[in-house]
């Protein structure tokens, strides 16, 4: 890595690390992801004699639905805080290569989210395993224990971590384009939550499926499925690819706007 890149990265790392909210928000990502997953697992019961279509990995990792919102805050604030305080002008004066600044921000945020996401996902899987086993989802009842040694579960766990990182990049891109934090977070959460809600009421099976295939959250979370894979709207890795495309498009738009616009 050349000197300039290293310095830019170091500058962004210092800015991110020295804001108190970053640490608290990343802790919140971990706590919420684990707590919601554990609560969902604790509330899951299978009455005797009924064949439940339960996906233990998906239930344990449902906290990602909430955790991603906090990840979005972290990523949005990384750029919109600079706009709201006017810091962006100093940043861009010191480092005139704007694309590089955005890339450095993306790298720092991705690294932090990957770290927090790994802890959150591992803890959620562990909690899910302990709680679901206590609720009768045992090998004796036809359920495999939730274990990272099991291929699909490993894929669901690793994919969920990547999912969080991609959500961070999507949020960073949107926030760079619109600058204001409230508007950015509104757009990001709208993109994530509206697709599944609208798809749910659309009666036409084709439209329903297409909406789920193009929605960043519905497609991206296909990575969490470990059972009943044939009924998925999109295959797990292709789904994560759709989310990656959204993130890339957002970053591209953000980067273009950043280059062309006055700070």
């Amino acid at each position: 890595m050349r000197r300039l890149e290293a310095d830019t990265l170091h500058a962004e790392w210092t800015k991110t690390r020295t804001v108190a909210s970053t640490g608290w928000l990343l802790l919140a990502v971990i706590a919420l992801t684990v707590a919601v997953g554990a609560a969902a697992a604790a509330g899951t019961g299978c009455p005797p004699g009924v064949a439940c279509q339960l996906d233990p990995a998906k239930v344990s990792l449902i906290g990602i639905d909430l955790g991603q919102a906090v990840v979005a805050i972290v990523a949005v604030l990384a750029i919109s805080n600079e706009y709201s305080t006017g810091m962006i002008r100093i940043t861009l004066s010191a480092m005139p290569r704007r694309t590089l600044v955005l890339a450095a921000k993306a790298a720092v945020i991705t690294g932090l989210v990957l770290a927090a996401g790994t802890i959150a996902v591992l803890a959620a899987v562990l909690a899910g395993r302990l709680i679901l086993t206590g609720h009768g989802f045992t090998p004796a009842h036809g359920y495999e224990l939730l274990s990272l040694g099991h291929g699909p579960v490993l894929r669901a766990a690793a994919g969920s971590i990547l999912y969080l990182a991609l959500i961070a990049l999507l949020s960073l891109g949107v926030a760079t384009a619109v600058r204001d934090s409230a508007v950015a977070i509104g757009i990001v959460l709208g993109l994530l939550y509206l697709f599944p809600i609208v798809a749910n009421v659309v009666g036409n099976a084709h439209w329903h499926r297409h909406l789920e295939q193009i929605g960043p959250m519905t497609a991206g979370l296909a990575i969490q499925a470990t059972t009943n894979l044939t009924s998925l709207p999109i295959s797990p890795w292709a789904g994560l690819g759709v989310l990656a495309a959204w993130s890339a498009a957002a970053l591209l738009a953000g980067g273009l706007v950043l280059r062309l616009r006055d700070a």
Partner: protein, 532 residues
């Protein structure tokens, strides 16, 4: 942003109602002069409308069967279910052994047995086995005509729910519990006096107890009185995680044995005739056999409201047209949060509080302004979405009819939901003073619970609690079709026949109001205590 009207400080000026009115004007000026916020509110209205129409247009054009009846097909689902006196869609399909009854009179019978046949096994090859569905019913009925959907009142024995008096599809009054057997028969009586029908029950035919009395508006002078048997479709549906449903729905049949049949009053005909009411809408199996004073009546179908989700059909409810509420809500939350957080960011809050040192009143004025604006936007968008959506869907899909008052509740409720959410966002924004965190908190407490409870993978138990406790409970105001205890269906918030909430409409709305009140109180305390 400009602080439009700032009240000059005059020591001799009374700060009474005038003061608050000026505060309102100041806040209104702040709101309307920020172009981004006005655009945000317009976007809220447009996305609400647009997504609602998308929901209406994206509905499949299959007119599927209701209650195991034949599939409705073709333009506009010409085979749509009949509509009852209350304006709701109904199943009115049963076997009737009747005589006309002119003027006042009464009908009395003794029921000695209720047996039936239900499907056995799973999958495409269903066998038959003896048994009854819980709401298999047989008894006596006084009905305006044999036309499906006409007014009626009936006394009946049921398989699992004892003696009932039911009228006009939605009315249901419980009589004595217990199943009917040869050793424990049931006597039933219906008496007509003008428009009033009274139902009685007896164990021995001499001591009668009144079960209920109902007034049927517009009952013609000559009505149909007789014995009936009906048996709703057998349903064994389980909801899988993720909203999928699987199970069996198939017609069932019941047979009741009546004796001591007596009809008092003027009857133009003196013989009983069998008739399958609503044969086109039901499985159409039934018949009767008379031997001496003993009638054996076999029937299928039901006399009850039709509800979405009963038979896994894709029929729409008007709630679909309001799906844009979520998008509109997010836009309104962003604007309402910025209405206060922008003041903190720009430092305008110091000017505002210097001009009007009574901080509670500032927050109140802001809440009134953003609440009214959000209510108006929501009202316009919800009314337009409901009206245009219904127009768009008509003729392509079957849309469950809802009474006008229910439509009004859905529109006004949606507007109120958006208004109270805006106040909640304002309060959370005041507490946190940071836009991103405040917007996220509000969206996460109102939209995400709905997503988890209705759409996502949460199992039914936790989903119900999420929709009871979180602000998302307020979406119950959008429920179009009520749950009927006398109709067996999969009443769930999600799934194809979804839209059923665990709380009653206004009770769910009250949950949101409670959260908003707590948030406003906390915001008030913090605003008063903190330096700006």
């Amino acid at each position: 942003m400009t602080a439009g009207t700032v009240t000059p400080y005059r020591p001799d000026q009374q700060t009474g109602r005038d003061g608050f009115a000026q505060l309102l004007l100041a806040e209104w000026t702040k709101l309307r002069t920020v172009r981004g916020w006005v655009i945000g509110l317009l976007v809220a209205v447009l996305v609400m409308l647009g997504l609602g129409l998308f929901g209406a247009a994206g509905s499949s054009s299959s007119c599927q069967s209701v209650s195991g009846g034949p599939a409705r097909s073709g333009q506009g689902c010409s085979n749509a279910p009949p509509v009852g006196p209350g304006g709701e869609a109904v199943t009115d399909s049963f076997y009737l052994v009747r005589q006309p009854l002119a003027g006042n009179g009464s009908i009395t019978v003794r029921v000695t047995s209720l047996t039936g046949v239900i499907p056995s096994g799973n999958g495409p090859t269903l066998g038959k086995r003896p048994g009854l569905v819980p709401w298999a019913k047989a008894g006596i009925i006084i009905k305006a005509s044999t036309q499906p959907g006409s007014a009626y009142a009936a006394m009946m024995v049921t398989a699992d729910h004892g003696v009932r008096m039911q009228e006009n599809f939605t009315g249901d009054t419980a009589g004595p519990p217990g199943a009917v057997t040869a050793s424990d028969p049931r006597w039933l009586r219906l008496t007509r006096s003008g428009n009033t029908i009274t139902g009685y029950d007896s164990a021995d035919g001499t001591h009668w107890t009144q079960v209920g009395t109902v007034a049927l508006a517009g009952l013609p002078p000559t009505v149909q009185a007789g014995l009936f048997a009906a048996s709703p479709a057998y349903q064994d549906i389980s909801q899988g995680l993720g909203g999928g449903e699987s199970g069996t729905i198939a017609p069932s049949q019941d047979t009741a044995v009546f004796d001591h049949v007596s009809l008092s009053g003027a009857s133009p005909a003196s013989t009983w005739t069998g008739y399958y009411v609503g044969a086109a809408d039901g499985p159409g199996t039934g018949g009767y056999h008379q031997a001496g004073g003993r009638f054996t009546v076999t029937g299928s179908g039901d006399i009850a409201p039709v509800v979405p989700g009963q038979a896994g059909g894709q029929d729409l409810t008007a709630t679909t047209f309001l799906v844009g509420t979520f998008a509109g809500l997010i836009a309104v939350i962003v604007v309402a949060t910025m209405f206060i957080t922008a003041e903190y960011r720009r430092g305008l809050i110091r000017t505002t509080l210097a001009a009007s040192p009574r901080r509670g009143r500032v927050l109140a004025a802001k809440a009134v302004v953003i609440g009214s604006v959000a209510f108006t936007a929501g009202l316009v968008a919800a009314a337009a979405a409901l009206m245009l959506g219904t127009q768009l869907a008509r003729g392509r899909v079957y849309v469950f009819p809802v009474p006008g008052l229910t439509e009004l509740r859905m529109v006004v409720g949606t507007a109120a939901l958006i208004a109270v959410t805006a106040v909640l966002a304002l309060a959370v924004g005041t507490m946190l003073r940071r836009s991103a965190a405040a917007v996220t908190v509000v969206i996460v407490v109102i939209v995400l619970p709905y997503l988890l409870g209705v759409v996502s993978v949460l199992p039914a138990g936790p989903a119900d609690w999420v929709l009871r406790l979180t602000p998302a409970a307020a979406f119950a105001v959008q429920q179009a079709i009520p749950q009927y205890p006398q109709v067996t269906a999969l009443y769930s918030p999600g799934g194809s026949g979804g839209g059923y909430f665990p709380l009653a409409p206004w009770a769910g709305f009250a949950v949101l109001c409670g959260w908003a009140a707590v948030a406003v109180a906390l915001a008030l305390v913090l605003l008063r205590r903190r330096d700006v």
